[in-house]
Symmetry: C3
Subunit: 670 residues, 3 copies
């Protein structure tokens, strides 16, 4: 594959169209900072095509050529996030409309309507022209489609949106009878005479007190709506991919920012490489690991080989728009962040942005150099990150990320439902809950894992976790049994399996076919008050969330967690059933902040790869046989890692603040 899929890059967003007098100065400073990739063109439509069909290539020719001369690679972006005024004036139907019918006009970005055929056609025009001209440019290493799709406004309310929405429903349900049946629309007399009658979700009387622009609609409708909106981004990306492919073989990516709006299944389906823009503060690094694992899993094959992913944007110092946002990174953090990203499978670490915006909306954002050309606050850190990447590259190249034993499954329908339809519990967030309650304890324990879609082939993993995924398709449950017989462990829950694929309550049992699989009966579901329960016969946990009470039916179903107070006292909240050499574990409530203790209990005798370290030190095994590990101290405090991992005595190796260590099995640490 191309350079972009095999190299390691230290990159930056660059807007040569805004700084045409500074190109040489910029390139010289980039080289000084160890930068070897520039991301160009993202918002440049009006500079490329100032009137319809009139292209101006000179500035971009010049920037690409000079980048090439300086030995730099170029990631070229399609500028479709920022349609020019001539376009939206001539074709007003290209403008996005909000739920109240208001047109999002010129003056910002992301105002093009993804469902407008006209807009798509105009986008294909500029993309084709770009691909034709630069598709074979020697500096070109890849393409980025648009920018952070649906990161700002989402929802579409034009007549075309209505037509697309109905086509989506027709595709999914076939006819309105099936839709009415599967949505169970007779509730509240919502029965639809025809699919054409299904509304775009607008303001409703019920729930109008919330002040939100979109009211409370039927959960199945809202779940499909979320699914649909995400799918418009997929087809928008796919059209551009097709247009580029006619003229270029360079790999293509999209820098998705919101994994709950553009579902990862849509963002990366039709591109070659996954990418994301990330602005994390040092105190939340486990959320970074979670997101990057998601990207790594997005382009992974059935045999668990992966493609690298790109971090297309991160701040060299602080965030900010028209106001400053996060505080600047502490010294040393940036190199650690870069190392962690690369260790987790990324191969490009790019800044937003090179030269501070001098105008617009984001002039307070951190940049590598200032608008007047002096080094920004993060300059030294940028240089250090460049050195770190260069230093790690040989090891990373030699040892790809290790296969994991554990797969954490995400679910497109669950995300769509939780994001827009029904939260089930006010504390349930499709991203945050997983990060806090599952990822954090896994990282505390140094357990290596993948994140995969529930439609991927997960059968090569030893453990599968379905947590915070209310929708578990029946098809997935059906695939479970042979794998369980073979020794797999499926951890279901908390708050998983309690809704059908149509986002309704299953009527065959509280958790649908999982009840039968686990040999139990779900008695009820409810959000409990101040509830507690035991687990494994020992601990007392606070139990929260949209919870279940269970009743073991099969002889080999064992209650492993019991509610100990409230009206549910004595009822099991967690059960385990051995199935062949494997087992299914169902957690009917969330032991808040205590999932780690649950994992410890469940894995007491397992031999999962596990490498303990101080909090803030993250360890990533690399190589098919995990022969190497990269340990990164993301914190500003001295830390340690226990090496070798698991079993055996192990030794506590110190790691300086923000330092990186490469550890090798069977040899003394480097």
């Amino acid at each position: 594959m191309s350079r972009l899929a095999t190299g390691f890059f230290h990159g930056t967003a660059w807007y040569p169209e805004l700084w045409q007098d500074c190109i040489d100065e910029d390139i010289a400073l980039m080289r000084a900072a160890g930068i070897d990739l520039v991301r160009i063109g993202e918002f440049a439509w009006s500079s490329l095509e100032s009137r319809e069909g009139c292209y101006e290539w000179s500035w971009l020719d010049d920037a690409m050529d000079r980048a090439y001369d300086a030995g730099m690679a170029v990631l070229l972006c399609t500028p479709t996030c920022t349609p020019p005024l001539w376009l939206t004036s001539a074709y007003p139907e290209t403008l996005r409309r909000d739920v109240d019918g208001r047109v999002f006009g010129h003056g910002s970005r992301g105002h093009g309507s993804l469902v407008s055929r006209r807009y798509r056609s105009l986008c294909r025009g500029i993309v084709t022209a770009l691909a034709r001209r630069y598709g074979a440019h020697p500096a070109l290493v890849g393409w980025q489609i648009d920018n952070e799709l649906l990161g700002d406004a989402d929802g579409e309310y034009s007549d075309e949106a209505r037509r697309c929405w109905h086509a989506f429903l027709r595709e999914r349900y076939g006819d309105v009878t099936a839709l009415n049946r599967r949505w169970a629309t007779a509730v509240w007399s919502q029965t639809y005479p025809a699919i054409e009658n299904v509304p775009l979700p607008g303001k409703t009387p019920f729930g109008c007190w919330t002040g939100r622009p979109v009211g409370k609609h039927h959960t199945s409708l809202m779940t499909d709506w979320g699914d649909f909106i995400s799918s418009t981004a997929r087809s928008f990306i796919a059209e551009q991919v097709t247009a580029i492919r006619e003229h270029s073989t360079a790999p293509i990516t999209h820098n998705a920012i919101s994994p709950t709006r553009v579902l990862p299944e849509d963002a990366y389906a039709d591109v070659d490489l996954a990418a994301t823009d990330l602005y994390r503060t040092p105190d939340k690094m486990w959320t970074l690991a979670s997101r990057l694992d998601l990207l790594r899993g997005s382009k992974m094959t059935a045999d668990r080989t992966m493609r690298p992913f790109l971090v297309t944007e991160t701040s060299p110092s602080q965030n900010g728009g028209t106001e400053g946002g996060h505080p600047p990174h502490p010294r040393g953090f940036l190199a650690a962040e870069a190392a962690l990203m690369l260790a987790l499978g990324g191969n490009a670490f790019c800044y937003w942005l090179w030269r501070q915006q001098r105008a617009g909306i984001e002039h307070c954002h951190g940049s590598v150099i200032t608008a007047w050309g002096s080094p920004g606050l993060g300059w030294e850190d940028v240089c250090a990150a460049g050195r770190a990447i260069a230093c790690l590259a040989p090891t990373l190249r030699a040892h790809p990320p290790a296969p994991a034993d554990i797969a954490i499954l995400h679910s497109r329908r669950s995300t769509a439902m939780l994001e827009r339809g029904a939260r089930l519990w006010e504390g349930l967030h499709p991203v945050g809950s997983l990060d806090e309650e599952v990822y954090r304890p896994l990282l505390e324990r140094g357990i290596w894992r993948d994140r995969r879609s529930d439609t991927d082939d997960w059968t090569r993993y030893r453990v599968v976790i379905s947590a915070f995924t209310p929708i578990i398709p029946d098809a997935l449950v059906e695939r479970m049994e042979p794998w369980l017989m073979n020794g797999g462990t499926w951890i279901v829950g908390p708050m998983s399996g309690c809704r059908t694929d149509d986002a309704t309550v299953p009527v065959v049992g509280g958790l649908g076919p999982i009840d039968a699989l686990a040999g139990m009966r779900t008695r009820w579901t409810a959000v409990l008050g101040a509830a507690h329960g035991s687990f494994g016969g020992r601990e007392q946990h606070e139990l929260v969330g949209y919870a279940c009470g269970f009743e073991p039916i099969a002889d080999d179903c064992r209650a492993i967690g019991i509610y100990t107070d409230g009206p549910q006292a004595g009822v099991p909240w967690a059960v385990e059933r051995r199935i062949g050499r494997g087992r299914v574990v169902v957690l009917g409530a969330l032991p808040r902040g205590q999932m780690g203790a649950v994992f410890d209990e469940l894995w007491r005798e397992s031999d999962l790869w596990q490498c303990r370290s101080s909090w803030g030190v993250m360890v990533v095994p690399r190589g098919r046989r995990r022969e190497v590990a990269i340990a990164v101290n993301t914190s500003a405090e001295p830390g340690w890692v226990m090496w070798p991992p698991r079993g055996g005595p192990g030794k506590r190796l110190p790691i300086e603040p923000h330092a990186v260590r490469v550890l090798r099995m069977g040899s003394s640490p480097l």
Copy 2:
């Protein structure tokens, strides 16, 4: 009167149209739970009339017949809360519009416009068809009109709404000259050339910073607007009552939920029985007593005999929509709640809902059984509530609620003004302030009371309280004197009497004719800062709210409360005047949390019926001579009641958590 007005019922909402395969199973389980009343049809319009004029009765025939066969009573609801899509598509003028002209479309409930003549006509159609078919069904015990009118969106902004609004104003004011004079519209040049010029209240420049959709309008306009909106619900109900009456003699009710939007005077004026939907948590039981007293008073005659009321909905365990809401009830609470409701004069205790919603918006709500047919979390409590009702019924039947000595007056115009026009003080809420500051101390003291409209005949009470009613009509003051001469006590205030019936400031004196009646002069009104005052020569109270300073004029007017600090120091805040054998007491400020001490002082030598108990134990006297009392411990702690009530030594009788005791005068307690 019919069974519904004389029996005692344990009921549930039931949606056989959604669960046609489960009817026998449902009825069998209902009987097991002691349920003998089903509430049907509420949201079933599309199942009853799938196209205009095409009625489908079979499922309802079947459900009614089978209910009858099983010995169950049916409360049949008109489905006008959920117009089908064929209706709103064919007649778009039936859809409600919000203040910005946005149409509330299909996909929720409550989107039919109450002022649309077309909508009303279509509602009469389905209601007439229902009444014709089921008006004489042997299972039928009563009718419910629509569902929780104005509980969700309120306000109407169509052209028809405008015409109705102007008709309302013309009815009230006659001509625009009177309106201009009574509203005093010359302020801010608001003078109206014609009634047709009075706007529906929309967004205003003044107050636009609040972000609320309706801006700051003239207080008289907003008060009338609230009055008008409530009156649209009344006439909407009345039309359906008329339609039903042609074919059925069964009693009719409406389950009003918001006493500040559909004023009780409108909700129950044209129906036979009052009803409400109630979702109270155990820690707020005094607010339940307050609301149920309001219902009892709503259909009470001049001689204080009452009709029973219905609690048409309460949760068997927890509330919830697309998310869980309140925590589930503690074990034992439900039976206590049922007993309290029946003791206070209700005769039907109905759940929402029987079988968990499997779709839509409310699938997280507690239910008697789950969507898959297993007993819900509250099942045991439902069974216990059924037993409690059966056990209490003979006593309740033999002893109707006792007449009270005290009437607390509510005022339609005051509520309308406080809800939409002018709060006077940010802490003043038309329901909450009365509950917290008046109801709570009365219940703490075990004092029996009624709530009546200020347009009722209150002359048979010994004490009348007008609290948090800024509007006290002159007509009411005029009726006071003979009653006072005869020994009545009128407690006026806090925050009462300071506005005219048109919601303007009286110019004859700060409290209008009350100044003269009380023999004093109101000096000023103001919201005070951190103010304090004495009362009865003793206590120091914190005084808050929209407050008055008084000056006694008549010799027999006595300052009983004096401000002790601030610029108002030394000025009376409370006065008392003896009038014949009675007295009027005017409270010019709210002694926050201390109204109980004020009542104790005022009633030091009175012989009001009073039965002390521990907090959470509520005692209701029954029988014309109060020969019996029902004591209910609504709390999860052991409690006690002092018996017999008042005077005499009394004995502290223990009551177990959530238990009910029937106490009899002159005999040992049962």
Copy 3:
């Protein structure tokens, strides 16, 4: 000049059109309260012109005549804040529209569109008629234009607004090429083909999550928008001034309330006297001094002689609309407030309002007398304020406010940018930050100062402070050098100079030409995290805000403040450069709450006039040679003032709560 510019007044708003039966009673009570000025007509359009062209003068003739007979002066207001219904019905284009196109209809105030030519023409009509009739009335002492322009809604979204907006931009930029260049619109492809394409700022996808009606637009556009909106008020005022001038020589004012919406440069440019409405609570008196200094400076000449200003509204006791607002003033406060206002250069202290509103929206507001004619809660204080004014008048007349050594500059473009465009730092508020961080420490130190526009001639001051003014025009920097050579001290910052006049980032250096002037280079700007720094080699300050790092270049540029932690450790945050006999001091961060220590260090050896006092006692020097000072104790605690000021031993003179002392140099205190 006229009486209004030379006398001292104790005034009140009066609405004789609403209380025509009470005129004699009102005037008698006013005299009893020592009131000698009435402000009339403000909202009376419908009473003056009940149909187009039909004027009704009798009530106003009568009120003016009777006021004159009683020896009272009249300030006559144009009623253009409240267009009557006949007007807005006949000419709907006169109504203001909000960002969503909603019309602000009748029922409030401020709904006339300032950009509607029709509305302006109708306003000229009533104003001309008023001026013709009363321009020479013997009671008339002055005119007020409209009421609190843009105090409520602002923004205009009609087609006329669009035309005016484009005219404004054409005037400012000439052609679209210049606009594109100066706004740097190529960012995000915002390039405008023509000025007619620049939108009125509406909702945007970017930032749509904020829920605000106006989204995130380009900072330059928003800054110009704020400038434009303010300028519409200026031209609206100017038209009325012209109309009045044809018939009257009496001085004209406008009671501006929002100095960030109607910029002071616009509010007072075309009137004779500055005025404001002020509702301050006793705990925020330094914000009162700041605002009144702004008014004093607004009509000051180059030689620092001033014109008096008016406080057209203040509450006699408490604020309030449909609810009570602030608590009532403590006893004694009002007289102190009046004295302070007069000491600072005002000459009229007027209440809002005389007689409590009996209807509308503001019936809970404090008033001198109640709606029923009794003295309000603040009556005694009003009488005391009258006495205080009478007592101080001779001294004030003999000794005008003293010239100050310090000028604090405000900047129309900075205010416009911070109010609507870009806050730079969430804690930065165009008014609040100056009040808290600059005014408070100056008042704590008893330092006398002026506030001037950055376009005024400030060269006669010894110290100029440019704080919280991100936009410092190049022209101002150019004027600095000769003044600095001559001994001036310029304090630049915090958060000043970092944006060009077009609200973009300067590219010649971080602070534009200030970098060169100060002999340093700005390294970077950023909002820091928890940062600290030293100053003057000693203190450790917490440093916050949109901050700079500096690098001294010139030999005579000295780092006087150094960051001591974080990634910026060791970098200077404050520099000083001696220039001739003067110096420029640049503060690159805000030492929160510690600007006083910075001032102390900077002025250690200066001889600025400074009069220490206890907190709450404010001292104002009067007379060209500061031969007198007025000390006002605004607090309810005993206080003191050190007299004589600065140098010398001084004596601590006590001042009773709320008392006023007149202090004279070289003589014992009075």
